[in-house]
Amino acid sequence: MHAEEHSSSPPARRHISNVAVPLGIVAFCVWAFWLSTQFDRVPPILKRGMQPSDFPQLVIGLIILLAVWLMFRDKSEAPARLSKMAQVTMGLLVGFLLIAEVDLFLGLALFSASLATLWGERRVWAIVLVGLISPIAVFFLFDGIFEVRFPRGLLTNLWYG
């Protein structure tokens, strides 16, 4: 509780995120608390010290308490605006998840090649290295040595038959 004082340089300016983030945490906790009220309960004779909802509710209560404290006392600087590159990379991650549902190998290959290109790689051999050679090497490493089978999909079916 001492670092707030250190982190707040003299003309400490409260930013909207100093309130919005704790508010978001409290909203999440309210939802989680409501979910915890829906848990089954055990009859008193079978109860072993606590009901299943007791501990999560205790932790949720602590989180709410700390979030409210932050709401009024946190004067840390707001983070810099999220860069376009980070936003697009996050979009690529979502795209990867969708493609991976069709084929994990395909998702890895496309994501890696796209990420390298997005981050400024223009050399063809480098894009082939990360988008093709690396996924193939990792696939055979796991399939052959660690005996981990990739989920069946569009491309992996060609290998698994």
């Binding site: 509780m1 999560p56 932790v59 404290w69």
Partner: protein, 499 residues
């Protein structure tokens, strides 16, 4: 004694020796690459060890831990970029020396300090861990509960972030640990009807997400930051005079680092900062600090490497992680079906000592790598991040998938990565969350057992001397720094560079 000898014999296996040498090289590589650190390296490698026997698997993880912690110094000295946050203080004096063409002296002192610090801490580990385990052998659930609460309270001081945010992050991790079937009542909680979640949120994909994927997003956010080129000059090793000048600092910092490492949750970063500050305080030439002081390098490096052995003491003896990386190793122990805690030294003593000896071996090994291989390893920093990070991503995803061969784990890793990224942006460290997730189950189980034992009168826990001691320590850990800071106006602490 038998266990120590058996452990040493286990290490005599040539196959294991080759694995340790390879893991040392891999660890140095991980530590030298800015953005990757010991915690991320261990988390990424964990799935690869699943098919191995426990001794080589855990030996590899601890090897990566020790070697990566040391290797952070290489890039800190040569390119002013700490490979790991534990080496941030090494930059202060290492880089000025490198700029003056004395990189060899700096690297030599770093290698010697790291090796001596590491060896001292492993000797302490061998002596202290069985003693601590014996002391904890008779702990009842209330003592364990109080100890776990103390361990979690130490999360407040992790990194340079706000203690309140750290505790909040830890509590969030504990909340995540409640997902799945309640062990005491067999009732499902927060599973949303998904069978994959009935056993809880798996540790490994979360670790891979919060340490690996979130770092990928951080790298994307910092893509515009220019990287300084490597200074490659002739490496000239330190003289005998140099070593004479720093030996006291090495011993002092080794003691500090080992002690800091033993404290739950406190890791190499805190140790290196305190080691550096103490080296400066005791130095006859404090004005040299920040301008290329060999004592500064020795103070920082001996402390951060000795913290690795210290951190393994509570991890193995009590099941409470001594550092963020030790938390991932703890998850590795659990995945391999091992039970860290007092029984480890009665039921699996040979295993524990095999790990200790492997750590000793690594510390000696990276002395040679540090002295003669630094120039080569410094070149890995030239790998463009647009090639490095897609490959790290492939390993992260396949690693997350491999454990249970479930796509749900891939979703969890990506989700944890995105959540972790936003947490870091807003000043919440992800380390407490990871440790909270690991300790959460134990915390709840011990509380439940204590409630049964004490007939639901929880306040009776405070009447048991050891529980009371841990609760008092918890209060001191949470409020001590604030009270101390108000009573005695402290200098501003050194800032660390990240996790």
């Amino acid at each position: 004694m038998d266990a120590a000898l058996n452990g040493l014999m286990a290490l005599a296996d040539p196959h294991l020796m080759v694995l340790i040498v390879a893991a040392t090289l891999g660890g140095v590589l991980v530590g030298a690459l800015p953005g990757l650190n010991a915690t991320t390296g261990v988390a990424l490698l964990l799935p690869f060890t699943i098919t191995m026997d426990p001794v080589p698997a855990i030996a590899i993880l601890t090897t990566i831990y020790c070697a990566a912690t040391f290797a952070g110094a290489i890039t800190a000295i040569l390119i002013n970029t700490p490979g790991t946050s534990a080496s941030a203080t090494t930059c202060l004096d290492g880089y000025p020396l490198a700029q003056r063409g004395e990189a060899g002296r700096a690297l030599g002192v770093a290698a010697v300090s790291s090796t001596i610090g590491g060896i001292i801490s492993v000797v302490c580990l061998m002596a202290a861990a069985p003693l601590m385990a014996r002391a904890a052998y008779n702990f009842a659930p209330p003592e364990y509960f109080a100890l776990t609460v103390f361990g979690l309270s130490m999360l407040a001081t992790i990194g340079d972030g706000s203690p309140v945010k750290n505790i909040l992050s830890g509590a969030f991790g504990v909340l995540l640990a409640t997902v799945g079937i309640d062990l005491l009542t067999s009732i499902e909680r927060f599973t949303f009807g998904m069978n994959e979640l009935s056993e809880g949120i798996p540790f490994v994909p979360v670790m891979i997400g919060v340490f690996g994927i979130s770092e990928l997003l951080v790298q994307a956010d910092n893509l515009h930051v220019e990287r300084k080129p490597v200074i490659m000059k002739k490496i000239k090793l330190p003289s005998r005079e140099d070593y004479k000048r720093v030996w006291k600092t090495i011993l002092r910092s080794s003691g500090i680092g080992t002690f800091i490492g033993i404290l739950p949750a406190e890791g190499a970063t805190v140790a290196s900062m305190i080691g550096y500050n103490e080296a400066k305080r005791w130095s006859k030439k404090p004005e040299e600090f920040g301008n290329g002081s060999l004592e500064g390098i020795a103070g920082s490096e001996a402390a951060n490497n000795s913290a690795t052995g210290g951190a393994m003491v509570p991890t193995l003896a009590l099941g409470i992680p001594g550092s963020p990386t030790a938390a991932v190793i703890l998850a590795g122990l659990m995945v391999h079906g091992l039970r860290p805690g007092p029984t480890m030294f009665t039921e699996q003593a040979d295993f524990a000592f095999a790990i200790f000896w492997s750590m000793m071996f690594v510390n000696i090994l990276f002395f040679f790598i540090g002295l003669w291989g630094a120039k080569i390893f410094a070149r890995v920093t030239l790998i463009p991040i647009q090639i490095l990070w897609p490959i790290v991503f492939i390993f992260s995803i396949v690693g997350a998938y491999a454990l249970e061969q479930s796509m749900m784990d891939v979703w969890i890793a990506i989700g944890a990565g995105i959540v972790g990224f936003f947490m870091r942006r807003h000043g919440f460290s992800v380390v407490p969350m990871a440790i909270g997730l690991i300790l959460g189950g134990m915390l709840e189980t011990r509380l439940g057992q204590s409630m049964v034992m004490l007939d639901e009168k929880w306040w009776l826990m405070a009447t048991r001397p050891l529980s009371l001691l841990f609760f008092v320590l918890t209060i001191l850990a949470l409020f001590g720094p604030m009270v101390w800071g108000r009573l005695f106006k402290q200098r501003s602490p050194l800032k660390s560079t990240g996790e």
